[in-house]
């Protein structure tokens, strides 16, 4: 990778809560969806931070909160020395040039009635960078070339491309503004297997060439392991484990990470026949009413009668560079605590605002 300096982005105790409204005439807030509930992490310049977790764990909301596409309820977001949350209006808009986003579904995130040229120029215009026509044209061609599309693509429309090519357009749109940070929310999960590798390689090449910093959000652990330097695992709005990619996969310390990793199928029958699965009982609890204490204790095969149910574990450094939010991480790693059976608890999908649905935002104080 490129030179490693201090953190480019730092999140401190970031919370994103969505209110649940009810009532006929007056909207009363009857509860909150605790989508992101106190996450602190830092991303070094030129590095890739991978955020993994299952649906509903708040990973996408965190990524959007970082760019203030949804307004965080509390916490600090320090981007290159300035608190992004203190920026207002025009200043925030201008700051966004340096942080761009790549979305999951390239077809629905590209306007079908805009040509590729218009899609790419839009961002440049918004930031007053499209004054010189010849220069703009050069910049567009250069960007398209960087993502592996021919210059002839400029006059075409999104439907004329295949899924992989559309994702390249999405990447080009983020890239054309020459950002420092790119937040990629599930950049390959909508693509066919053989195309995923192309896009992952492209993201790596671009990082090497331009020294980009990535926050990659994905549910696929194998993808994140491949691309990320540091990996954070989220469960129900909180970070449960964070370590360098190699450390995390060599020795996962949090019970949830262990279960998650043992659940990922490996395309190798020899490995598949041998490996032991830690099957989690039940479903992810609802983020409107998260379990007390450790969020994972309702499904944790290692849960203990003391502390787990009433004290929320903080993310603490257990081994150098390896942070875990579990009271008993050392005991579990040393084998002093044995896993036990867990009765599945019934979980109901919330009929109220889903965590992905921004609904109405809480005004920031």
């Amino acid at each position: 990778m490129t030179e490693r300096t201090g953190p480019l982005v730092e999140l401190r105790d970031v919370k994103v809560h969505f209110p649940i409204k009810s009532g006929l005439l007056v909207d009363r807030t009857v509860g909150y969806v605790y989508a992101v509930d106190g996450v602190s992490l830092s991303i070094n310049a030129g590095e890739t931070y991978g955020l993994v977790g299952e649906s509903g764990c708040g990973k996408s909301t965190l990524g959007r909160g970082l760019l203030r596409l949804v307004e965080p309820t509390a916490g600090e977001i320090i981007f290159d020395g300035t608190d992004v949350r203190s920026l207002k209006g025009e200043k925030m808009r201008r700051a966004r040039r340096r942080m761009q986003m790549i979305f999951q579904d390239p077809l629905s995130s590209l306007d079908p009635r805009q040509s590729v040229e218009s899609l790419l120029v839009e961002g440049l215009k918004a930031h007053g960078l499209a004054n010189d026509k010849a220069e703009t044209g050069r910049r567009l061609r250069e960007t398209l070339d960087a993502v592996g599309l021919p210059a002839s693509a400029l006059t075409k429309y999104p439907h004329e491309f295949s899924g992989g090519q559309r994702q390249r357009i999405g990447i080009a749109r983020a890239l054309v503004l020459n950002p420092d940070l790119i937040v990629a929310d599930e950049p390959v999960s909508a693509l066919d297997v053989s195309i995923q590798a192309q896009v992952l390689n492209l993201l790596e090449d671009l990082q090497a060439e331009r020294g980009l910093t990535y926050l990659i959000i994905a549910h696929d652990l194998a993808v994140v392991r491949h691309i990320a330097d540091t990996v954070g695992v989220m469960y129900l709005g909180g970070l449960v484990e964070e370590a360098s990619s190699d450390d995390l996969y060599r020795e996962p310390l949090h019970p949830y990470t262990r279960a998650l990793m043992s659940a990922v199928p490996v395309p190798d029958p020899v490995v598949e026949d041998r490996r032991e699965r830690i099957l989690l009982a039940g479903d992810l609890p609802s983020p409107t009413n998260p379990p007390s204490g450790c969020r994972f204790h309702t499904r944790c095969p290692w849960a203990q009668p003391t502390r787990c149910a009433d004290e929320r574990p903080a993310l603490r450094e257990v081994v150098t560079g390896h942070r875990v939010a579990c009271h008993y991480a050392e005991d579990i790693a040393a084998g002093r605590i044995r896993p036990h059976e867990v009765e599945p608890e019934l979980v109901r999908p919330t009929d109220d605002a889903a965590p992905g649905d921004p609904g109405e935002l809480i005004p920031t104080p």
């Binding site: 299952e54 649906s55 295949s162 899924g163 992989g164 090519q165 066919d192 297997v193 053989s194 195309i195 995923q196 590798a197 192309q198 992952l200 390689n201 790596e204 549910h219 696929d220 652990l221 194998a222 993808v223 392991r225 491949h226 691309i227 990619s245 190699d246 996969y249 279960a259 998650l260 990793m261 043992s262 659940a263 990922v264 199928p265 490996v266 395309p267 190798d268 029958p269 020899v270 490995v271 598949e272 026949d273 699965r277 099957l279 989690l280 039940g282 479903d283 992810l284 009765e343 599945p344 608890e345 019934l346 979980v347 109901r348 999908p349 009929d351």
Partner: protein, 328 residues
């Protein structure tokens, strides 16, 4: 005799004013009783259409299905719609990808499970509901008595998929077709469902056709794997042979292009160039030729035949990856 013998199954979609499109092109494979067979491929390879054709669930207009689907020696494609309806659900069960859209949203789950039992096993409503409770219990749904009265939107995605499995297995079919049963689910829930399927298949002796794009799912589950590309089987092998020594450049490329959890980091992925859209019609040569690293002149002269290999599989390739090259 095989339980299911699919011979030269072709499905051609034809709309007025448009060129006919061959989605499935002379696919043949067999399923033995109790065996698990995988159909693997990317979007557009014809794997789902194959399963719909076997089940007779393709729309009646706009397509032409040819070939034979022999179930216990009887051709399912020649059955009258009424007779086929008797078979579906009783002899062959099916699990679909998206449990929310394949369950009826306005009917309680219990009724939907009991419906199959009433229709095929002639049970009365009360007995069927009782049996439905047992079934929900067997697929690991907690508190099944109360779940009977609930609607699909009231339970989670994993539970819905379990309910769907309960419906498919209600009549103890001899063949179960699972079309991407875990694609819509989270990985920990996927592990639950796959373990459940494996256990049910072992217990009941049901044969299973597993349709998926995920090579990892196949590696742990299937006895024999068929790899499809552009509507044709390009490689068929027992799973250890397939994953150990993939011979077809497409299979080989697929295995090399997926990042693996247990492989060392920092290696570049070997992507297959181009996309599935870069096919050429099989009549003009091998559909994979435009993306193939091993392409030779013969590949563009006509479709290569599906030939048996030394290891007991079948292969459709003029210039396969050498046997010595093991997939890392």
């Amino acid at each position: 005799m095989s339980l299911l013998d699919v011979r030269d199954l072709s499905v051609v979609f034809q709309r007025r004013g448009e060129r006919p499109f061959t989605a499935v092109d002379k696919v043949s494979f067999t399923v033995e009783p109790g065996q698990t067979v995988g159909l693997v491929g990317e979007s557009g390879c014809g794997k789902s259409v194959t399963s719909l054709a076997i089940m007779g669930l393709l729309p009646r207009r706009g397509n032409k299905v040819t070939g034979e689907v022999l179930f216990d020696g009887a051709d399912l494609l020649k059955l009258r719609p009424d007779d086929m309806r008797d078979r579906r659900g009783r002899d062959i069960g099916m699990i679909f990808q998206d449990p929310l859209s394949s369950l009826n949203p306005v009917i309680p789950i219990g009724i939907q499970v009991a419906e199959v039992l009433e229709r095929h096993r002639g049970m009365d409503h009360k007995a069927a509901l009782k049996e439905a409770k047992e079934l929900l219990d067997a697929v690991g749904i907690p508190d099944p008595m109360r779940r009977l009265k609930e609607y699909p939107h009231q339970i989670s995605g994993g539970m819905r998929q379990r309910a769907l499995i309960a419906i498919a297995l209600a009549c103890k079919p001899r063949l179960l077709i699972a079309d991407e049963p875990t694609t819509a689910l989270d990985v920990t829930i996927q592990a639950q469902i796959l373990t459940l399927l494996k256990q049910l298949v072992d217990e009941t002796g049901t044969a299973l056709i597993m349709i998926t794009h995920d090579l990892g799912v196949v590696a742990g589950l299937c006895d024999t794997v068929n790899v499809l590309y552009g509507g044709k089987v390009v490689e068929r092998a027992r799973r250890h042979e397939l994953f150990g020594h993939a011979r077809h450049p497409y299979t080989h490329g697929l295995l090399n292009s997926v990042p693996r959890l247990d492989s060392p980091r920092g290696e570049r992925l070997h992507a297959i160039p181009g996309s599935v859209a870069d096919n050429i019609p099989w009549a003009e040569g091998c559909a994979f030729a435009p993306r193939c690293p091993n392409v030779v002149d013969a590949c563009l002269e006509g479709p290569p035949p599906l030939e048996p290999t030394a290891t007991g599989g079948d292969l459709r390739c003029n210039n396969p990856v050498s046997e010595e090259v093991a997939v890392p």
